[in-house]
Amino acid sequence: MSQHHINDNTNCFNINNVWNNCTVADEKSEILAWLSPLEPRIRHQDIRTRRVDGVGDWLLQTQEYKDWFGGIHGGKSDSSALFFCGGPGVGKTYMR
């Protein structure tokens, strides 16, 4: 009889715990939705599936990119921002 009682208590505690976790998770998703309704990751997925593998990979090997990626803030060559600039039609191909 007493064992049954303990079991009940344990279950109670577990349920309570799960309920609390849900609340926290719900609030996080509510907060995220409040921060922004936009989903740029969807656009990203769309662009990356149309990208040709290998094209432009060399850009990630340029000194500018390496300095930016690995740079130490306040270091001698501090470029904490990197601007890659391509003109209209750069890379545009016309075939006939």
Binding site: W34, L35, V55, S79, L82, F83, C85, G86, M95
Partner: protein, 208 residues
């Protein structure tokens, strides 16, 4: 798979390339990657506050716990009828806070598609984040006419590199195209100009 004659190396391709590479390197480490792609068709909803709000959302989404100050601001605004979104200054402050203790890569594509007024405020906000946070790093793409503005507003913090497809890029691109017309005339440019002739037997590439 690209359609025949499609663009091979657009700014957005370069952005997505960098984002993928950063995400791959961020796995398991203490860093965050957030992106934003400008869309000319949706200019109205792309103010500095909505752009950086979406960046903040991605950064917070990657944390185990939402920072206490954000939770508190969220709970407080719920008491106002209809709720209230964060102001640009608050978003900038939260991004600064998080990126001070965590390497945070913010990638923004096609700045030239952002209306000029918004662009200046966006660049100033980014500059403020860089100034006050050790872990923030910003990646931007855009057409050359916004270069001066980027350099002016990011005051000496920005390095610039121009993107022009290399011979290697063109070859990789051509190999990926499955169906060719018999002869192809291809221009990559406006500068440099490059011509490709392909017959069924061989591929000839001429670059200046």
């Amino acid at each position: 798979m690209p359609e025949e004659g499609r663009v091979s190396l657009k700014n957005c391709d370069v952005s997505s390339l960098a984002i993928d590479s950063l995400c791959k390197q961020a796995v398991g480490g203490n860093s965050a990657v957030a992106c934003f792609y400008f869309d000319f068709a949706a200019q109205e909803e792309q103010s500095p506050a909505t752009i950086l709000g979406s960046v903040l959302k991605q950064v917070v989404g990657g944390l185990d716990e939402v920072p206490e100050r954000i939770v508190q601001t969220f709970r407080d605004q719920k008491k106002v009828i209809g709720g209230q979104r964060l102001a640009l200054s608050e978003i900038v402050e939260f991004l600064q806070d998080i990126s001070s203790s965590r390497r945070t890569f913010i990638c923004i594509d096609a700045l030239d598609e952002c209306p000029p007024g918004h662009r200046v405020r966006l660049l100033d906000s980014l500059s403020q984040i860089l100034k006050n946070s050790r872990g923030a790093r910003i990646f931007l793409t855009g057409r050359p006419h916004v270069q001066g503005e980027v350099e002016k507003h990011l005051a000496g913090r920005a390095a610039t590199r121009s993107i022009t497809p290399t011979k290697g890029d063109i070859i990789i691109f051509l190999r990926s195209v499955k169906s060719f017309s018999k002869d192809i005339f291809l221009i990559v440019g406006p500068s440099p100009r490059c011509t490709v002739f392909r017959t069924s037997a061989s591929l000839k590439l001429q670059m200046p």
